[in-house]
Amino acid sequence: MEFWRLYRRNRSAVFGMIILLVVFLLAGSAALFFPDDPFSLAGKPMSAPGENGFSLGSDTLGRDVAAGIAHGARTSLMIGGLATAVAVLLGVMLGGLAGYFGGWIDDVLMRVTEIFQTIPSFIFAILIVAIIKPSINSIIIAIAVVSWPAVARLVRGEFISLRNREFVQACHIVGMGDVRIMLREILPNCLSPIIVAGSLMVATAILIESGLSFLGLGDPNIISWGFQIGAGRTVLRSAWWVCTFPGIAILLTVLAINLVGEGLNDALNPRLRDHK
């Protein structure tokens, strides 16, 4: 396949995809290997890796770190994916409208976008989660709210450059409606940069979620990597494994997603394609 041929040229992107697949497998098989609730007290607290049947050790309350990582992978991927989907949807809608219509619609929408961009995103996310009750929904909303302006800017730029192209003018001349022009003529032509930006945004979303959970603003009923690190923070010197393994999981996942994003960019961006 053409796309795969282009993607394969970037070796590190293939490597990233392999890691990402492993994370997906881990998330998918979590219930199989660790059927118990990751919050359950499985054995002796503070067991080192390999001791008492804990492959990656246990934390201060005797929860299995390995089970937490497996179940946490689900949380991370789900929140990363959902929050990005919401942000991209919102960003494409607002950016598309602003770029396509221009004029006062553009002015208004872009000023609103700028207001969102002036607030540091992590602090803004904390604020939102703190105002709404910490739950999986509020975390997703918070991440989406701080992430969409970047997409909106990107999509607006693409729409502005495409809306005056001759093929779009040809659609106006046959009397095609605005919605149809936006969705069927312009949008397919700017999917590549949106996909690339979206893939990188998943990584940021996972980081924000981990940060929120670390600060105790995560959903208390769902295990996540950030929560695990937060729980192990106080015993970092006596039980290093509690923080370290979830940390490595975050590092590898975010790295893998970034590599995949780079690879997508190389494969989908026609300007880069010729620089072999």
Partner: protein, 547 residues
């Protein structure tokens, strides 16, 4: 030529290799030619014929390492430039051989003044004091007939017009009095009157300085005006090389013959009988562009441009009306106002006694199919993500055809414009420029229009393809009884296509008349200026021995 006096430039059996996977193995294959002092050699050919690559090979400017000289010699005063090292090539470039490019805006550095850029060339190659360099730069600027050298030397490229920038480029290229000047389509981006001036300037400087000029062009009119000898290139090979008169008036190679045959003649074709019935009347159409100086969309604009200024034109039934003019004359704006892509602020566009100008989108819809447009750039006018079939069928579907009918119609249209019906399921990138333009025409015809507005439909195409598209337009015009508004900057094309011509300048129609009348006895000085600037106007193609 004798052994003691080798030619200035002697290229023998030059091969330039292309990277693997390119269209052909060699960009340039077994090319040999010579260039003498005080001679203009024109390299002519269509896009992709390898004419620019040979010039770049001389300058050592090939995009290494993928494209490189494979075999052959480039002897410059007996020295083989293919063997020269980078330092020697740097020395040669700019002082002994220099080059001017197609687009002076991108070839000049926008953040340096013209004076600084000329100074840079002189400083690199000659050991002169600052004052001497400045005097030399001023003299160069005066030599290319730029007004007020003292001002130009301090000007930035964006402060000059296109023609002035090209003059500045020439001043820079000739600063060190090179023995060879390579000109790569130096007038292609310029208006026809400016082009005529630049050609005259190159010829004048070449005679004064005894320079050998290698002039690359695709335009046989320019060749007729300027060349001493001509080399015709096709697919990387020189198919014919001889003195200008022989190549133009008695070409030997079939490819040369076909190229020259495709050049439209300046003699208007016989007038057709015109219908009295008026299809479209444009009255006092005015469109003004405003920009700058605004805050949040409020307040007064700083720059006001009258793109069209009280334009009046009439289109009779079945007639082709040419709208000619240079860039910025407002001809494209006029076309876009008529098809209602742009809203004009005053005037009338009367179609069957209905004024289309004030209609909103819904009210305009029934008239959309009546007036259709063909665009200039075949690469930008088709959505790269849509299949050809959908591009053509979309229009009928929007206007209420069932998808099955629209598909049938689209296939019919493909046949009418001379494309394989299998094109229906392909994407635009699988087609060449000429084929894409056919698809664009099919799209316009699918709605069964009565008026076709064609905005420079052939100016992005090679001359042989251009001839085919013009022929196609003439055929469908007869067959479908179309009235056509044909926008062009090329008077040769206008002479062959249009029944009547309106000449535009700075947003106004300065003259309008039957094609033959306009070419024979133009009234307005601007029309006469345009006509006299057409390159190669004294050369009549298609006459003589061409069969």
């Amino acid at each position: 030529m004798t052994a003691i006096n080798p030619p200035l430039l002697d290229i023998s059996q030059l091969f330039v290799r292309l990277p693997a996977g390119a269209e052909r193995d060699h960009a340039v294959e077994d090319v040999s030619y010579t260039l003498a002092n005080n001679e203009i050699l024109c390299l002519v050919g269509e896009s992709g014929s390898g004419k620019s690559i040979t010039a770049r090979a001389i300058m050592g400017l090939l995009p290494a390492p993928h494209v490189r000289v494979d075999q052959g010699k480039i002897l410059f005063n007996g020295e083989d430039l293919t063997q020269a090292n980078a330092a020697r090539l740097r020395q040669v470039r700019g002082s002994e051989i220099s080059m001017i490019f197609q687009e002076p805006m991108t070839a000049l550095n926008p953040v340096l003044t013209i004076g600084q850029q000329i100074d840079e060339v002189i400083r690199f190659h000659a050991n002169l004091t600052k004052q001497e360099r400045r005097e030399r730069a001023l003299k160069q600027i005066a030599d290319v007939h730029l007004p007020d050298p003292e001002r130009i030397i301090k000007a930035y490229p964006h402060e000059l017009s296109g023609g002035q920038r090209q003059r500045a480029m020439i001043a820079m290229a000739l600063a060190m009095e090179p023995q060879i000047l390579i000109a790569d389509e130096p007038t292609t981006a310029l208006d026809v009157t400016t082009q005529a001036q630049i050609l005259k300037l190159i010829k004048e400087l070449q005679t004064n300085h005894d320079t050998g000029v290698l002039f690359i062009t695709h335009d046989f009119g320019v060749v007729a005006d300027i060349a001493d000898r001509v080399a015709v290139m096709q697919n990387g090979q020189i198919v014919e090389i001889d003195v200008t008169d022989k190549v133009l008036n008695n070409p030997q190679h079939p490819y040369t013959k076909s190229l020259i045959k495709a050049v439209p003649s300046l003699v208007p074709r016989p007038a057709r009988k015109l219908s009295e019935q008026k299809e479209l009347v444009v009255k006092d159409l005015t469109k003004t562009y405003r920009s700058g100086g605004r805050f949040f969309g409020f307040g007064k604009s700083e720059h006001v441009v009258h793109a069209t200024d009280s334009v009046n034109i009439q289109l009779h039934k079945g007639e082709t009306l040419g709208v000619v003019g240079e860039s910025g004359s407002g001809k494209s704006t006029l076309a876009r106002c008529i098809v209602r892509l742009i809203d004009a602020e005053a005037g009338q566009i009367l179609y069957q006694d209905v004024d289309l100008r004030p209609l909103n989108r819904a009210a305009m819809r029934p008239y959309r199919s009546k007036i259709q447009m063909v665009f200039q750039d075949p690469y930008a006018s088709l959505n790269p993500r849509s299949k050809v079939g959908r591009i053509i069928a979309d229009g009928p579907i929007i206007l209420g055809s069932s998808p099955a009918d629209a598909e049938k119609r689209a296939r019919e249209m493909l046949e009418i414009v001379g494309l394989d019906v299998r094109a229906y399921d392909r994407y635009p990138h699988e087609f060449s420029g000429g084929q894409r333009q056919r698809i664009g025409i099919a799209r316009a015809l699918a709605l069964d229009p009565e008026i076709l507005v064609a905005d420079e439909p052939v100016s992005a195409l090679d001359v042989s393809i251009q001839a085919q598209i013009l022929e196609l337009l003439a055929e469908i015009r007869e067959e479908l009884q179309l009235s056509m508004i044909f926008i062009t900057h090329d008077l040769r094309v206008a002479a062959q296509v249009c029944d009547r011509i309106a000449v535009m300048k700075l947003g106004k129609v300065v003259e309008e008349g039957l094609t033959a009348d306009l070419f024979e006895k133009a009234q307005h000085p601007y029309t006469r200026e345009l006509l006299s600037a057409v390159p190669g106007r004294d050369w009549l193609p298609n006459k003589g021995a061409i069969t």
